[in-house]
């Protein structure tokens, strides 16, 4: 271990160190504010530590043969940390109102984020599985965190069991791949066409794909999504939808680029099947959904299907376009999703249950124009309407699909989007509808969450109208990472 190793892994060290400090802090004196403060401090320091890490890497830096840190990983890590910061900010008023002991949530949040960072940088099955399990186990507890209520427990139990199925699929896959190729490092994974173990190798890859597809909630491994999204507290749902999926996406793009696994026809078609099914079925499932959290769950299924297009053209389109698309899409998806669950969260702050029925948003335009505007921006962005960041992201996917001549996927994207517009507009329609006289008053909302949500809403629009700085930044990162 050299000093450079230390500097490059510094963000992770800061994060883990912060977690330990927080644990000690919680042991000594329990105050919610202190826990939040320590968490935010840790996260911000970790973001700052990426600056040090960046100075020590050129195109990429191999850490212990387990992790590879390049500009792209730094981009993802900062996204995860920012996502965690937003989650922490949303969590404070939410838990402060309804829970007695809220401090452990932040410990879990930090460990989950650390797991996500490891997954995103993994170049070896060992680090991949280790990171994934740190992330997942933290998530189970986070989902079940309001342990007095029934729904979060149910959601956590479902997620635990099904996630275990997916994890075992991945482990089995890794075992098969290892048996066939004799290595667990991504870059060395390949097998000659004549090899007798080729079938085990492919079988292993298929199982790994299944596991990843589960984590990304892609059809047909998507069924947990709406139940978990609905059952988990809105803050946690936002986190599951963004950071945990973002980490797996980062891993996926690393993995397919390092192993060229998609050049095996069978694996390629399996992923195409998953992508097309996700785009179509995800949108169809959302069509008449009346629960906002479930609607967003189905919508996320479809969106990850779209994103899979960029991954699938990895061998036919320019690699820098693929990476730009993935980075941009994930960033856009983070902003939109956090804003969406932020609104659900902050209208639920003082309620006993999450404010998740779409009826509750009837006439929001006349009751709280600011929140309604943000939610409208969210809906438009999810639908991919121009002048929102969602359009830029979708357009990138479209461009990548066209460049990679993946016509079937592009068609699925178009059909899926067309179906999608219906239910996103229905959400907006609900908000514009006149309030009935006897309707319950809108729950009171706290100011700091409103500020956070408004900033996210503004980002959706500003980056949609003037995306050039973001695009330039991503392009620079991709180029600096050697593409």
């Amino acid at each position: 271990m050299t000093l450079t190793d230390l500097w490059v892994s510094f963000p992770l060290i800061v994060l883990v160190g912060g977690t330990l400090v927080l644990m000690i802090g919680v042991s000594i004196v329990r105050t919610h504010k202190l826990a939040l403060g320590l968490t935010l401090l840790t996260l911000i320091l970790s973001v700052a530590a990426h600056d040090i890490a960046l100075e020590n890497i050129t195109t990429g830096y191999e850490l212990f043969g387990l992790l590879n840190v390049s500009g792209i990983q730094v981009f993802f890590n900062v996204l995860f940390l920012l996502g965690a910061i937003v989650t922490a900010l949303f969590a404070y008023p939410y838990f402060n109102e309804r829970m007695e002991r809220c401090e452990e949530f932040y410990i879990l949040l930090l460990t989950a984020t650390a797991g996500a960072m490891v997954v995103a940088a993994a170049t070896h099955f060992a680090s991949f599985i280790l990171g994934l399990e740190i992330l997942s186990i933290s998530l189970y507890a986070m989902i079940a965190y309001p342990r007095e209520s029934h729904q979060p427990l149910e959601a956590a139990a479902k997620y635990l069991v099904l996630s275990a199925v997916a994890s075992s699929a991945i482990l089995m896959g890794v075992a098969l791949v290892y048996a066939a190729s004799g290595t667990m490092a991504f870059a060395e994974l390949n097998i000659s066409p004549e090899s007798g173990e080729r079938s085990y190798f492919l079988l292993g890859q298929a199982l790994i794909c299944v596991g990843i597809a589960f984590k990304l909630s892609l059809v047909p491994f998507h069924m947990w999504t709406p139940d978990v999204y609905q059952g988990a507290p809105a803050v946690v749902t936002g986190y599951v939808a963004t950071v945990s999926k973002g980490a797996v996406i980062a891993l996926l793009i690393n993995y397919v680029q390092a192993t060229e696994v998609l050049s095996y026809t069978g694996v390629f078609y399996a992923v195409v099947f998953v992508a097309v099914a996700s785009m179509i079925v995800g949108n169809l499932l959302a069509l008449l959904q009346t629960n906002l959290k479930r609607l967003l769950a189905y919508s996320s299924i479809a969106h990850l299907g779209y994103l899979l297009i960029a991954v699938l053209v990895v061998n036919t389109a320019r690699p820098e376009l693929v990476l730009e698309t993935v980075l941009l899409y994930v960033a856009a998806y983070f902003i939109i999703t956090l804003a969406a669950f932020g609104i659900v969260n902050l209208t639920s702050e003082h309620a006993t249950e999450d404010n998740e029925q779409m009826e509750a948003y009837t006439g929001l335009f006349w009751r709280n124009p600011l929140l309604a505007s943000v939610l409208t921006a969210v809906a438009l962005a999810l639908a991919g309407i121009p002048l929102t960041v969602g359009f830029i992201a979708k357009f990138y996917v479209f461009a990548a699909g066209v460049e990679g001549t993946a016509w079937a996927l592009v068609w699925a994207l178009l059909i899926g989007s067309a179906i999608g517009v219906f239910y996103y507009l229905r959400l907006i329609y609900t908000m514009v509808k006149q309030v009935e006289p006897g309707a319950a008053a809108l729950p009171q909302v706290g100011t700091q969450s409103v500020v956070a949500v408004t900033v996210l809403g503004l980002l959706i629009v500003v980056l949609g109208v003037y995306p050039t700085p973001m695009i330039d930044m991503i392009r620079t990162i991709v180029q600096a990472s050697g593409f």
Binding site: R198, A206, C209, D227, L321, V465
Partner: protein, 612 residues
Amino acid sequence: MLWLVPALPLLGSVVLLCTEGRLPKMVVAVVGSGSVGLAAICALYVGMNVVGTGEWQYTETLWTWMAVGDFNPSITLYLDGLALVMTGVITGVGFLIHLYATGYMWEEEGYSRFFAYMNLFVFAMLMLVLGDNLLTLFLGWEGVGLCSYLLIGFFHTDPANGYAARKAFVVTRVGDTLMALGLFLLFREIGTLEIQAALEGATATWPEGSGINTAICLLLLGGAVGKSAQVPLQTWLPDAMAGPTPVSALIHAATMVTAGVYLIARMQDMFLLPGPAMHWVAFVGLVTLFISAFTALVQTDIKRILAFSTMSQIGYMFLALGVGAWSAGIFHLMTHAFFKALLFLASGSVILALHHEQDIFKMGGLWNKLKIPFVSMLIGSLALAALPGTSGFFSKDAILLTAYNEASYGMLFWIGAVGAAFMTSLYTTRMILITFFGEVKTEPHDHSRINMWGPLLVLCALSIGGGWLGFMVLAPYMGDGGVAVEFHAELIALLTLGVPLLGVLIGYLIWGNHAISIDKFAASNLGERLRQFFFGGWGFDWTYDRVFVNPFVRLAQVNKSDFVDLMFTSIASLTTAIHLLVKQTQTGQLRWYATNMVVGLLVVVLIVIVQA
């Protein structure tokens, strides 16, 4: 700096829309007219700079949306001589009209809404003329159409106004559709909608002329005809007078209706390619100018007279474009903006003083009671009739001379144009004499203030001196040598000069001292029929009602259940049905989910094995 010119009116509009009339009227007036005034100053400044460089061209990229591969949409402003003239007219004349409107609209409901729409209009119009891309132009084109719709129907409590607004919208939409088709065709053939690139592409692709080029030109002409109220899509303009008078002055006289002229002038390189497109433009202009001049002669509503006169003057501009007198056409556009705005605003003052009386036969003897409106109206009329020395004279003269020199149909164009010039001075004289002289029929109450008569005086000066402005500013602006008055054919020049005077003289003899009596003719059967025919705008409305509107209404009645829609609703219900089906899979039961995962896993493994 150029971006400020459209940005200021947009800002004004946004401010006014967002405050929704919560601001005091005084502030609204300052914001509403001030934003356009500042824009005018900016335009002047930018114009001076651009002229100063001697380049006559200036591009400013406002904003690049995103750059993905070759896809690189941006909004770029492009300023050249043509755009500069238009910008000057829109902001300069626009500012004067806004200023006037602060007084004119003072008593009306929705003061703030009015200025919000007006500012929005100015913004859209500026985007139309400054856009370097036909797409931007088209957005501005639709934007001004929308504002026109909103402002015609401004007094929305009267359903007739709403009808007029709808008519204007629908009729221009016919033109817009043609134009959109033209743009699609252009994009398919040339592959770009950037104006300069498209023009270069067109001249390079079809140097010999081509049917496609002609088709594109004619489709664009269709759009221009709709927006500029030329035959056969002219019927909306007289009804559009339902809007407040400043609206008529700004939108339906000075700026929006000249957008068609601008479009053709902008795309002149394509029209100049061999083919019949130019003659079509000229004929459209000629027919319109003739028909509307006759119609104006028998109208009784002062604003309708001016509306028909506007159509006829734009006919002149089309004629000018059609014979290749580009700068003369644009010159006339500018002078017309001056004197027609003046006429509308002056008539607005008269109408306001007479408590919204618009029938000229209920006016009379106003000349010494409403002095400023009278003088303004007189000067405007002189310019409209193109009497020597006024701005209208120079521009119209330039058009007539170029028309005469046109190779194939020059004589026909010239005769038609001169005939219409005679008619113009005739109906103008009639309007002035009946409105301001004779016995007093209604007692006026003038309470106009400086913000109303100030703009009138400025426009008076421009109507007279605008011709000289043309020589100074416009002369070098386009490749065809600019505007120059050449008296090469003595007789022609004499006729051009003399015909308007003759018109005034005959007009005076008929309506001034009644030396010539037309009562007998008017009372005769033929006279009455002719009057009816002219009055109704040559039966265009009547025909359209029977040929298009009524059959369409009947068709709509037959098709109440909407057969075409069935196709779409069936897609919707199919999707819903599938949704209900797949929804069943979401049971909430863990064992079912796990089973499904295993099934999915098997499917994936199967695909991998079979494809391996």
